[in-house]
Each structure stands twice: as structure tokens, then as C-alpha cells.
């Protein structure tokens, strides 16, 4: 299982008003060798609760540095902390690079790549385009980069510099939602229709495109994917990286039931699954999973040995004893997650939720 390592902040600077670029020096550099397009998952304690957030690496693999871009999100604890409090010399904790948002590079290849980025979705695409242009001297890269306005374009100057460095091999089309541009087509949102127009007007060319990379908010990814397929690109030529992370809701700490701890052999287990809640009465000798399944609830499981984590659920009230755990990490257990195949009721009432 991947573990967290310490990284020292060696540089931090703003790329736009509400986004920072953070340069990191890992205590164990060999663990942080990365492939273009990968991301780091950070953890940090906020008011006693551990938060994990993933941010894409924006450096190319040949730049000899580890750098992530973090845009501040309203109400986002980690991104606000990074933008407002983080400073040079601080230490962060992150897991080694992960993710598959890349294709294999071949130095002899002369390929044409298309990248679509929305807002801070530029970070992995920037890593990919820098690495590709450096490693595949005969390849070209066209970036379609969507932003609200000029002021919110991350890495604008760096992209201009790259265009000069890789003259004729890198082209950048900025699509701005609100700021008017010389060409009407470059104003608005990047939708399926817009992608079609870009192809028809010759700014983009699917026939010549080998691979397209898309990273941005959900509606934009759907629109672009539809536009690329309509223009004749195949599913396996399109690589996605989804922006958002499913944020487990911050729920109240689990409540230990008042009448808990009695010594009955039978427990009432309240199970929420697919939005429906049912109460099952079962022997405490039966695991939460088996108790639910005995009542014909289609609770998920696979290995029944505490190894695979398919049967994970969250205990909201009461207490269970998890006899084996080879799959959940400490922070998940602290939040009340258990492997239901390995968990037996301790209290007379237990409330579990498979939907969280």
C-alpha cells in the first residue's frame, strides 16, 4: 500500500490571483519519479479531521523539479491553505505520484497531439505537452485552453515562452468565456458544437490527430469527447482526467447509542443501501454483511476475507468489532468506515450506511 512521504516547499509563487505553483523537494526523491500527467495526493489535518486532496504535477519530466499547481476553490480547506498560508520551508505530506493520464512516448515518433484544458485542468496537460515536445522532437501539440477571462489563465506567460522555444510545434488556442477576442469562435464555452466548429474551420484536424487529452470540469469533458467522436476519433484515442474528487461529506462524528452496551445476543442493524433504509435483526455472531444479505439486501462484497474492500460501509451509530482489516487505512477507520464482512455488532443497535 502506498504511504505518505514528507516534502519540503522550496518555492511558492502565484501564477494568477487565486492559484499558486508550489515546488517541492521530497525527502525520498526516488519515490517521486513521475510520468507526465500524474498527480500527487496530499494529506493534512484540519480541525482534527484528515483531508486528502489530489493535485496534478505541472512540471515536465525533464525539468528536474517537482511542481504542482493549486487553484483556490471557495470553501476548499486545502486549496485555501495552500494559497494563503503555505510558505517556503514548510513541510507537506504526499503519496508517490499516481495516475494514468499519459501515453507512452517514442522518441522517433512524429505524432500530433491535441490537449483540451479547462481552468486549473491545465496542470497535467502542461506536464504532458512539455514532456512530449522535449522527448518527441518530431511531434506537435495543439492546446485548446478554456478560461473565464484573460486574468484567470494559469501559466499564460510560460505557454508563450514554450511557443517560442518550440516554434511551429506548439500552438495554443485560448477560448475565453467572457472576454471578447478577435476571432468570434474563440469566445464562449468549449462545447461539443464549439469543437465541431474548430474542426470545420480548420483550427483543428482530427485526421492528423493521434491522441487527445482532456482535463476539465465534467460538462466540458462530455462536450469535447462527444465533439471528438463526432469528428471521427476513436474511444481509445481519447484520454481523460477528471477534475473533481468525490468529496466524502463531512458528517457528524458517530454517536454511541445511549442504550448501547447491553449484553443481548441479538442486534438491530439499520442498513442504508441505495438510498433505502431497512432494519434487520440478527445474531451478533453474524457479520454486518451476512446479516444484511440474510434479509435479501444486496450489500456489496467480493472476497469476504477483509482483503478487497468491496464491502466497505460507514458506521454512523453504535459499535462493531472489525476482526480483520487488510484494506482500509487508519484514516478511513477513524472516520467510521469498516469492512462489513469482518464486522460484528458489539452494541445492541448499529446503524451503517453503504452510500457514504
Amino acid at each position: 500500500m502506498a504511504r505518505f512521504h514528507e516534502l519540503e516547499v522550496t518555492d511558492i509563487h502565484k501564477t494568477i490571483r487565486d492559484a499558486v505553483v508550489v515546488t517541492l523537494k521530497p525527502s525520498e526523491p526516488e519515490a517521486f519519479a513521475f510520468t507526465q500527467g500524474q498527480y500527487l495526493t496530499f494529506r493534512r489535518d484540519f480541525d482534527g479531521e484528515e483531508l486528502r486532496r489530489s493535485y496534478s504535477i505541472c512540471a515536465g519530466t525533464d525539468e528536474g523539479k517537482l511542481q504542482v499547481g493549486i487553484k483556490r476553490v471557495d470553501g476548499g480547506a486545502f486549496s485555501t491553505f495552500a494559497n494563503e498560508e503555505l510558505k517556503v520551508g514548510d513541510t507537506l505530506e504526499a503519496m508517490p505520484p499516481m495516475g494514468r493520464f499519459f501515453t507512452e512516448l517514442e522518441p522517433d515518433a512524429g505524432k500530433n497531439y491535441l490537449g483540451f484544458a479547462g481552468g486549473s485542468g491545465i496542470t497535467p496537460v502542461l506536464s504532458i505537452l512539455k514532456t512530449t515536445l522535449a522527448r518527441e522532437p518530431r511531434s506537435t501539440f495543439t492546446l485548446v485552453y478554456a478560461n473565464k477571462g484573460v486574468a484567470s489563465i494559469m501559466f499564460r506567460e510560460e505557454l508563450e515562452d514554450l511557443k517560442n522555444t518550440y516554434m511551429g510545434r506548439l500552438s495554443v488556442i485560448h477560448i475565453l468565456e467572457t472576454d471578447a477576442q478577435e476571432i468570434d469562435l474563440f469566445t464562449g464555452l468549449v462545447t461539443e458544437e464549439k469543437v465541431g466548429q474548430l474542426f470545420r474551420s480548420g483550427f483543428l484536424d482530427t485526421d492528423a490527430t493521434d491522441t487527445a487529452f482532456i482535463c476539465g470540469p465534467e460538462p466540458m469533458m462530455l462536450g469535447i469527447a462527444a465533439g471528438l467522436k463526432a469528428a471521427g476519433m476513436a474511444e481509445d484515442q481519447i484520454k481523460f482526467e477528471l477534475f473533481a474528487s468525490a468529496q466524502p461529506g463531512r458528517l457528524a462524528k458517530r454517536v454511541i447509542s445511549k442504550e448501547a452496551g447491553k449484553t443481548a445476543n441479538e442486534a438491530q442493524i439499520v442498513v442504508t443501501l441505495d438510498g433505502a433504509t431497512r432494519t434487520v435483526a440478527a445474531s451478533k455472531q453474524l457479520s454486518v454483511l451476512d446479516a444484511a444479505r440474510a434479509e435479501n439486501l444486496d450489500a456489496p462484497y467480493a472476497c469476504k476475507a477483509g482483503v478487497c474492500s468491496t464491502c466497505r460501509c460507514r458506521v454512523l451509530e453504535g459499535e462493531v468489532e472489525m476482526v480483520t482489516n487488510h484494506a482500509l487505512e487508519d484514516y478511513e477507520v477513524e472516520k467510521g468506515y469498516v469492512l462489513s464482512c469482518q464486522s460484528f455488532p458489539v452494541t445492541d443497535k448499529v446503524v451503517v450506511d453503504y452510500d457514504q
Partner: protein
């Protein structure tokens, strides 16, 4: 990837064909169903490889033994590829392989329908034992094409890392299916008695397409984890098997 924007709910995104890309952005119920699909694939391959490994020494010649050994090795590699993805969700991958005897089989006469045995998620068909080399070739002939039909659907799965794995694995499985056809041709020329094996395995492979539960399929479709009805997949498989069996002088069971 950053934690930016939240313009669309994940369920709307998935319902419209969106792709999820890492364990960090899958919601809980999706996670569970995805892990079940992955566990089913991994367990079936581990069990299938373990069962077929026993047949290597029964193969008639060096070429056939080599092909059988290669199929076993590649099925294990395919299981490893998907198990690695499960590991990214927290599964203990070493222990996963060790915790279970994958070569166990039930009696030939057992009739378990589509049910899984208690402690693993292998497709029911992988619980039945072979009686001979020819019997194992027939099973591979029928199951090889079934796996291709199933993977052709699953390569559209909304979890992109798994879709990519299945796309690569499909090419390998297509080759295994072709090897099974070749093996069956050799046996047919030697006038081996294959019809009883077809009669035995065909209904058992057919069951691996699952028994229809429309509500459940709709739920999986909404998450982009499934796309085509089980019955449609099964008839697609039957259509493909018919000419192959006819060429070998065999009847569908």
C-alpha cells in the same frame, strides 16, 4: 486533477457517458460495484488459470502444451493487471491471491446455476472440473468467445483505467479463443468425441452471462458500468458459436 469546479453532479455526468479516472473521484456505491466487477474478473481468471494449469500435462504434444502453458500465464497476467487496479482502492493484492485455493472445483455433477460459492467471485462456470484434454478444449472454445463478448461490452466501462485494461486484455482473449478453435479442429480431425462436452459446457457457459435482473442492470447502466442487457450478450455469443460449432460438425446444446 484538482478539486476545482462542481458544476454537475457525478451521477448526471456518469449518466451522460462521463468517465471517472482515479479512486479519488469515485462515489461509494460506484466504488463497491466497480470492485465487484473487478473481483469477478480477477477471481475468474485466477480460478480459470488454476484449473487449466492442471491440463497442461494432458495436452497431446509439445505445441499444445506450450499453447496451454501460455494461456495459463497470460490469464494470470490479465488477473494481475486488474488486481493492481483493485490495489489502488486499498485491496491487499498479495494476500488476495494467497487467501484462497483457486484450483478447487466442485463435483462434475454439481448444479449450482449462476450462484457463486461462498468465498470468491469467480463465475459459476469456473467451479466445474474437466474430465479430459478434449473436454478442456471445448470449455475454452465456448468460454473464449463468451469472454470476448463480455469484454467487448466491458471495455466501455466508465472507469477509464479499467476500460483501458479491458481493451488490452480483449486482444489477448481473442487470441486465446482462436487457439481454442485451432485445438478443437485438431481434435475434430482425430474424430474425438466432443459432443458430450459441448452438451455439458454450453448451458454452464450460457449462465455466465448472468440472470436478468432489470432493476440491477438499470442501476449499473446509470453508473456507466454496464451498457447491454445480459440476454442480448448471450444471444450475440450463441450467434457467434453456431458457425464455429457447425464447422466442427457439432450441434449447439
Amino acid at each position: 486533477m484538482t478539486s476545482d469546479f462542481a458544476e454537475m453532479t457525478l451521477s448526471d455526468y456518469l449518466a451522460q457517458g462521463g468517465r471517472l479516472t482515479s479512486p479519488g473521484n469515485v462515489p461509494p456505491r460506484y466504488r463497491a460495484e466497480l470492485l465487484k466487477i473487478m473481483a469477478t474478473f480477477v477471481d475468474s481468471n485466477l480460478a480459470g488459470a488454476a484449473g487449466f494449469a492442471d491440463m497442461i500435462n494432458s495436452a497431446p504434444g509439445i505445441k499444445a502444451r506450450g499453447a496451454a502453458a501460455r494461456i495459463v500465464a497470460e490469464k494470470l497476467a490479465n488477473a494481475d493487471r486488474v488486481l493492481t487496479l483493485m490495489g489502488e482502492f486499498g485491496a491487499d493484492t498479495d494476500r488476495y491471491v494467497r487467501q484462497h485455493p483457486w484450483d478447487t472445483r466442485l463435483e462434475r455433477s454439481a448444479d449450482i446455476g449462476a450462484t457463486r460459492i461462498e468465498h470468491d467471485m469467480r463465475l459459476a462456470v469456473f467451479n466445474y472440473p474437466f474430465t479430459s484434454w478434449a473436454d478442456s478444449v471445448v470449455m475454452n472454445l465456448l468460454m473464449g468467445t463468451a469472454v470476448c463478448v463480455q469484454l467487448e461490452e466491458l471495455r466501455q466501462v466508465s472507469y477509464q483505467p479499467l476500460a483501458e485494461a479491458f481493451r488490452d486484455i480483449l486482444k489477448i482473449e481473442e487470441h486465446h479463443a482462436a487457439l481454442a478453435v485451432e485445438g478443437a479442429r485438431v481434435l475434430a480431425l482425430e474424430t474425438a468425441e466432443l459432443q458430450p462436452s459441448v452438451d455439458y459446457w454450453m448451458p454452464r457457459v450460457a449462465v455466465s452471462f448472468g440472470i436478468g435482473d432489470a432493476g440491477r442492470l438499470e442501476q449499473l447502466k446509470a453508473m456507466g458500468l454496464r451498457h447491454i442487457e445480459n440476454t442480448a450478450l448471450k444471444s450475440d455469443w450463441m450467434e457467434r458459436m453456431r458457425p464455429i460449432l457447425a464447422e466442427l460438425g457439432l450441434r449447439t446444446a
